[in-house]
């Protein structure tokens, strides 16, 4: 990075437009409500066509939904399109899993976390007209039929979770927006008709033929959906007394008549097109975290053309991007209450990632004028969505880098990605160099080829600390007392650290084996029951292969497996090696007893392990070597497994909210942690453990082979902004990336402010903080999650 940290950081051009400020206020303070419309129309169509092929019936159902859902254009809007009739409305996806809705709908409004309003009429309609149809017809029920009994039993032990438990489908992909902008859906339909024309009658009647039919049906419905918006805007313009707003509505109508049906011819149309596609993909399926990806690269040519022609100013482009970003805050899903602890926050894990900056497919830095405009636009909204990232290539322009740093210093909830490390990692994972360079980021922070990947990046979370626990208890769960792991040997008989390691490895390996079988059943259930023809037409690969995304149609197919509690695994294994086998401070048997009793009468032992044994994150060679060993081993183990879509399992280390939830289900650990306490998040050291300062921490982190973790890693840093100069942060980040850091995100907020927010939540309604890979409103987190944020080390620089 060509950055001089001696020069003062450029002052920022701040300030959202009045329109953006008004719309931001409106969405931030909107009540969260359930909306039955999608479920109603989907069920109407599915019940009429249930006997038809899944590709046919789902595409007909999408068409019916898009023809029937409310079309609403709200005051001030320039970018339009909604999933529901409510401003902050969540649709329901009963086709994925309906049992929980039957159980939870009555208590939506009484929840403490993620409270959801629902009208009596809608609740009644759900219970009496929608949900009865789905009994015995959901993905969840098919999954349960396919799931081996022993895997089903292991799923309930909270050693690992699989995606359907916590969301409603796979999701987690970016789309090829550039192709749609250039060709329009009509161009894609023409391509599909050519494909059909080259098929025999038998092929037309087969899976590929049905897929092409379903794609065309879905894309045609998408065009009708846009036209409904055009008609609405035209009608509103005719009634509008304010000439300025009437002109805006006419422009909206014109844009919706043109896109996504035809190629975009202006920046406004391009933004509207991207949002329609983004929106419809999230109406089609309940899969979360469908992401926008490289928004600047997608839209830059339209911006430049409009700029040259004098059709737009940078401020107007900034406003349109802000409006796009605000619209993403309307997209959220209701979580099943039982799994809220795994990913707290208002948005129900609909983490829509977007990036600016970074290199192009040719390797040259592709940061452009729109990259900075996008950065400014996000700084104007500073909302939970989108999950905003800045890609930095080695040749990132200095002013762009410093602009991002300055915003980060000012509390804009963004994260930074190091292209050099990530591109090398993706090539190692099997991407072509060009595709690796053109990576988009999905969900929390998962990089993969933009618009070419179906990565199921959030598929699995594995509790690594539980594997350590089982290794020291011969498979017995210390929280509940019953057997949950495999028998990996009596720890009383272990005579070396390597035997402990072997037991840990065996437990992890067993869990991963179960995960592969479980995910095989889940992927098969989704592919059988809920293909995604619309999304399949938006990603490169399915059209060429004649194969739906869910069956492996994409060019790249992976399955993400995250290690939860990384720092605790590292520190626990270091503690065992040092205290048991080197210092002989205590026997392994005695340690196992301490853990089983949650340190009863063993405070001295706990204190020694907690304070006297080196901890990861302090630039300590021994602890850091263990960290590298743990990560390498995890990656090796995960990479041995394949999915049924023709891809590999990809390792990742980011925890979403599972460091809280999985910590609650984990017994005491040898690092001195008590039973139930939160785990370290991502690759961040354990709370209170990295006491040697930010530089030491970054030295430790950059000793990790993060490039092997293809699915991404997350480092959280919290600074007290009062003591942090932007120049110092720039210097720190420059060094971090030069040493091989992959990703970092910040919370620039002091403990005093967070405590005040706990006491006076109404005064901090829009306080956005970074959890682990995603953002959330601080005041809407549980006390447990709030305390975890507060307990993170607060650095000064």
């Amino acid at each position: 990075m060509s950055v001089s940290t001696q020069e003062p950081v450029t002052e920022l051009q701040t300030g959202p437009s009045e329109r953006v400020s008004r719309l931001r206020e409106r969405i931030v303070h909107a009540p969260r409500e359930a909306c039955v419309e999608r479920a109603r129309y989907l069920t109407e169509s599915m019940s009429a066509h249930w006997e038809e092929h899944p590709l046919t019936r789902i595409s007909k159902a999408l068409g019916h939904v898009l023809d029937k859902v409310s079309v609403i254009i709200r005051e001030d809007e320039l970018i339009v399109g909604c999933r529901t009739s409510k401003l902050k409305g969540a649709p329901l996806f009963p086709e994925n899993k309906s049992r929980w809705i039957e159980g939870d709908a009555d208590s939506f409004e009484n929840r403490v976390i993620q409270k959801v309003g629902i009208s009596d009429a809608e609740a009644r309609e759900l219970k009496e007209e929608v949900l009865p149809f789905w009994r015995g017809r959901t993905v969840e029920e098919r999954f349960e039929e396919l799931l081996p009994a022993d895997v089903a039993e292991d799923m309930d032990k909270y050693v690992f979770t699989m995606i359907l438990e916590i969301t409603y489908g796979i999701g987690h992909f970016t789309m090829s927006h550039r192709r749609i902008l250039e060709r329009g859906l009509s161009g894609v339909i023409a391509d599909l008709r050519l494909k059909q024309g080259a098929m025999s009658a038998d092929e037309r009647a087969g899976e590929s033929g049905l897929l092409y039919d379903a794609m065309i049906r879905s894309l045609t419905a998408a065009i009708r959906f846009a036209h409904r918006h055009a008609e609405m805007a035209e009608a509103m313009a005719a009634r509008e007394s304010d000439p300025g707003r009437a002109a805006e509505l006419e422009e909206i109508a014109r844009a919706c008549r043109r896109v996504p049906e035809h190629p975009a011819s202006s920046f406004h149309e391009a933004v509207q097109c991207v949002y329609f596609i983004h929106l419809i993909a999230q109406i089609e399926s309940g899969g979360n975290s469908i992401s926008l990806g490289r928004i600047d690269q997608t839209l830059s040519s339209y911006y430049e053309a409009d700029l040259r022609a004098g059709r737009i100013t940078p401020d107007q482009a900034r406003e349109l991007l802000s409006l796009l970003f605000l619209k993403t805050n309307e997209i959220w899903n209701i979580l099943e209450e039982a799994f809220i602890p795994g990913g707290e926050g208002t948005e129900g894990k609909t983490t829509q990632n977007v990036t600016v900056g970074g290199m192009g497919p040719d390797g040259a830095d592709a940061t452009c004028a729109l990259s900075s405009v996008g950065l400014d636009a996000f700084a104007d909204v500073r909302t939970v969505q989108p999950n905003f990232g800045v890609r930095l290539s080695p040749d990132a322009p200095e002013d762009f880098f410093l602009r991002a740093i300055r915003y980060a210093r000012d509390g804009v909830p963004l994260h930074l990605f190091n292209d050099e490390v990530i591109v090398e990692s993706l090539v190692d994972a099997g991407h072509t160099l060009e595709d690796a360079r053109d990576y988009g980021v999905v969900g929390c922070l998962e990089p993969n080829a933009q618009g070419k990947t179906f990565g199921s990046t959030f598929a699995v979370q594995i509790n690594g600390v539980k594997c350590v626990e089982f290794a020291l208890s011969n498979g017995v769960d210390n929280v509940f007392g019953y057997r949950s792991g495999i028998e990996s040997g009596d720890p009383a008989e272990f005579t070396s650290f390597e035997e402990v390691w072997g037991a840990y490895s065996a437990q992890l390996s067993h869990a991963l084996g179960q995960v592969e079988r479980g995910m095989g059943a889940l992927d098969q259930a989704i592919a059988e029951m809920l293909p995604s023809p619309f999304a399949s037409a938006m990603v490169e690969g399915p059209m060429e292969k004649g194969l739906d995304l869910t069956r492996g149609g994409a060019i790249y197919n992976s399955t993400g497996v995250q290690l939860i509690g990384f720092a605790n695994v590292v520190d626990s294994l270091t503690a065992i090696e040092k205290a048991v086998f080197e210092e002989k401070f205590l026997s392994l048997e005695d340690l196992a007893e301490c853990l089983e009793s949650d340190w009863e009468d063993a405070e001295g032992v706990r204190s020694h392990l907690l304070r006297e044994i080196p901890k990861y994150g302090n630039d300590d060679p021994e602890a850091d070597a263990m960290a590298a060993r743990v990560l390498t081993h995890f990656c090796d183990e995960v990479l041995r497994h394949k999915n049924i879509r023709g891809g590999s399992f990809w390792p990742g280390v980011f925890s979403v909210g599972f460091h809280v939830a999985m910590g609650a289900f984990a017994g005491a650990s040898p690092d001195g942690r008590r039973a139930g306490e939160v785990l370290g998040n991502g690759i961040t050291p354990g709370s209170g453990c990295a006491t040697s300062g930010a530089t030491a921490l970054l030295n430790s982190v950059t000793r990790l082979p993060v490039g092997r973790a293809y699915n991404g890693t997350n480092l959280n840093l919290r600074f007290n902004p009062r003591w942090l100069r932007a120049e110092a942060l720039a210097s720190l980040m420059k060094t971090y990336f030069e040493l091989g850091g992959s990703q970092v995100q910040f919370n620039m907020i002091d403990t005093e402010t967070l405590r005040d927010a706990q006491r006076n939540p109404e005064a901090y309604r829009d306080l956005v903080i970074r959890v682990s890979g995603y953002s959330a409103l601080f005041t809407e987190l549980s006390e447990l999650a709030q305390e975890e944020i507060i307990s993170r080390m607060e650095y000064q620089a």
Binding site: G103, N110, E337, V479, F480, F665, G676, S782, L784, A785
Partner: protein, 148 residues
């Protein structure tokens, strides 16, 4: 009526004794009180409710919390609804709490995340429940794995 409890009085006798034992237990009691919340358990077959107050000062000096058999005025932070039989098996450590919630055998509401704070006492409480049953002479209600 369920399999294990004759009626509400029978249930209150057993749970009253069990809760007294764990709330006065020198190991379990302090850990429970550190959860700092009020939990209401709502049972079916027989239909009744029991509230455990781990937030307000205990009514008994030697206890680390209070409990109320039947309706009470204490406002719960979190509630959990299940059949009395399921609860009986749960306190023997024979019902997986995740599976119970996921499969709808247990319904929870309120500040469900706070319930996680009680997990560290689960194993000790499971050990205590059969002890409490035997102390009351209900040896025949003690379950073993494979018996549920």
């Amino acid at each position: 009526m369920g399999e294990y409890y004759r009626d509400v009085d029978h249930m209150f006798e057993i749970y009253g004794h069990f809760l007294e034992r764990i709330l006065t237990h020198e190991r379990i009691g302090p850990k429970m009180s550190s959860a700092n919340m009020i939990v209401k358990f709502i049972y079916t077959d027989p239909d009744c409710e029991i509230t455990i107050d781990l937030k307000n000062p205990p009514e008994r000096a030697d206890a680390h919390g209070s409990f109320y058999l039947g309706p009470c005025d204490v406002e719960a932070d979190v509630w959990s609804k299940q059949s009395a039989d399921h609860s009986h098996r749960f306190w023997h450590g024979l019902e997986n709490p995740i599976a119970s919630v996921a499969k709808g055998k247990v319904k929870q509401g309120g500040n469900v995340v706070a319930m996680l704070k009680l997990l560290p006492v689960a194993r000790r409480a499971f050990e205590m429940f059969p002890v409490a049953l035997r102390e009351l002479g209900y040896d025949h209600l003690v379950l073993t794995r494979g018996e549920k």
